[in-house]
């Protein structure tokens, strides 16, 4: 929260790379190029990238791709990995069927 993040600062233009079509988020099939482009469209945080593209919203909730996405984003932004805030963690830790979540045993 102490980090002022000016979204107007110059991070350079988006230049296509040879491996832009590489899949990064397997669950939602998001490519490296889509992530890089999203940064240049203003998505400077992991949370914004996730909401904009859906990477990290699939079944594994970012377990596989979070570090990979982070590496791509920090390179586009030109910042250290520790400067990029991580996304929020939420219930359920593993996907749960509705009928199981609905069955709250022994609730008072």
């Amino acid at each position: 929260m102490d980090k002022v993040n000016d979204r107007f600062r110059d991070i350079g233009a988006f230049t296509p790379l040879a491996d832009d079509d590489m899949l990064i988020c397997r669950c939602e099939e998001i490519t490296k190029g889509e992530i890089r482009k999203a940064v240049h469209e203003g998505m400077y945080t992991m949370t914004e990238i996730r909401r904009y593209l859906r990477c990290g919203m699939g079944l594994c909730q970012g377990q596989t791709c979070a570090k990979l996405v982070k590496g791509i984003v920090v390179r586009e932004l030109g910042v250290l990995p520790t400067e990029l805030e991580p996304a929020t963690s939420r219930v359920p830790m593993r996907p749960v069927e509705m009928r199981v979540l609905a069955k709250e045993e022994g609730r008072c």
Partner: protein, 375 residues
């Protein structure tokens, strides 16, 4: 770094971003200050995605209908981002005669204002949506309602506004508003001082503390609500759904996942730890609500549940208004949990008030000074 602009907007949610966009289209310089680290981190990214007219306070109808007619259908193309606007109607469901009474009242109230909404029986409901339980005995049906993707819509407005030159700064919580020689000009954060000719406070519940600095109070309370989302499911239906007693509301997104919200009844009393933390009860309660109407979704897997605050205004509709007694101040907040659908319309009109002085839609119902004692 230039810290001055014609308009300073406090709040980077959909209202702040969309207003910035509509102002930028008129070549007005704008700076948007967002207190958290992310654009759209409040209700804008946490809601159930409803774009509806039915079930609203009649005072909101002219603006939301205008937005649905003139703005929503064109947003995807205009912003260059798929906002997934789907206009396939809204079913508000009932299982008991009491539910139907509630729905009838809502329907009559809106129909009286000219909205195309009517009551239908259980069979007609299942013709529209065959997945609904046999226990549903009726619903209100509004064919011009729909839903959209709040995440991409909010970030879409942000992206386009930024392209047009709006300067967004996150991590800049506002500490104080300051008048200079009788006019509101300065916005003080813990890092800098910003200056503008006009200032729009669109910071949800936090607006209240911010406007207090210039003696303006908007009667709101923060109420924590919860939602959840499933994994992608095969396509089932396109309507927006709700129930008479708010057991759940939601829709199936373009992605295939179902986004639902619900209520435990304890929302007004929920505490937090400084973050928008979920309760241990919300998700299970919403699931029971859903299964009660959608047995077909019993095996759908929930992948995530979240929480967010709504800024509940005293009379349950927003304040969107110029604050004449503080020259330079404008306010747009208090959307009370139904701000998403109305946001483009609200933003468009407050942008007009700021830039030209007169809005397209009559905004007098949303004035900041409307709150009176009951006697």
């Amino acid at each position: 770094m230039q810290n001055t602009a014609q308009v300073i907007i406090i709040g980077g949610g959909i209202i702040g971003c969309a207003t910035a966009y509509y102002l930028a289209k008129k070549a007005i310089s704008v700076i948007v200050l967002e207190g958290s680290d992310h654009i759209g981190n409040g209700g804008s990214s946490r809601n159930g995605g409803g774009v509806r007219q039915s079930g609203r306070d009649p005072r909101e109808l002219p603006m939301v209908t205008w937005g649905i007619k003139n703005l929503w259908p064109y947003l995807t193309e205009e912003l260059g981002v798929d906002v997934e606007y789907t206009q396939k109607g809204n079913l508000r469901l009932g299982k008991t005669p009491n539910h139907l009474n509630i729905l009838q009242r809502l329907t009559d109230r809106s129909a009286a204002c000219g909205l195309d909404v009517k009551m239908i029986d259980g069979d007609e409901v299942r013709q529209i949506n065959p997945y609904l339980s046999k226990e549903v005995i009726g619903a209100s049906w509004c064919p011009t309602d729909g839903h959209a993707n709040p995440l991409t819509a909010t970030l879409g407005f942000y992206k386009k506004a930024r392209e047009l030159g709006v300067r967004f700064i996150t991590g800049e919580p506002v500490i104080e508003l300051k008048k200079v020689k009788g006019k509101l000009r300065k916005i003080i954060t813990s890092h800098y001082t910003y200056e503008g000719e006009q200032v729009l406070v669109a910071a949800g519940y936090e607006s209240r503390a911010i406007t207090a600095a210039v003696g303006i109070d908007i009667p709101m309370q923060a109420v924590k609500m919860e939602c959840l989302v499933t994994e992608a499911e095969p396509y089932m239906f396109e309507q927006m759904l709700g129930t008479a007693e708010a057991d759940f509301y939601g829709h199936q997104s373009k992605h295939g996942s179902f986004v639902f919200g619900g209520s435990t009844g304890l929302e007004t009393y929920n505490k937090d730890n400084g973050k928008q933390i979920s309760t241990s009860l919300g998700a299970s309660c919403t699931c029971r609500g859903i299964i009660g109407y959608f047995p077909a979704l019993s095996d759908a897997k929930i992948v995530r549940a979240w929480a967010g605050y709504i800024d509940e205004c005293a009379d349950k509709i927003p304040v969107i208004s110029q604050v004449e007694e503080v020259p330079g101040l404008y306010v747009a907040c208090g959307f009370t949990g139904h701000g998403f659908g109305i946001a483009p319309g609200a933003a468009y009109n407050i942008a007009e008030i700021i830039s030209e002085g007169t809005p397209t839609v009559d905004m007098r119902a949303f004035r900041y000074d409307r709150f009176q004692a009951k006697i």
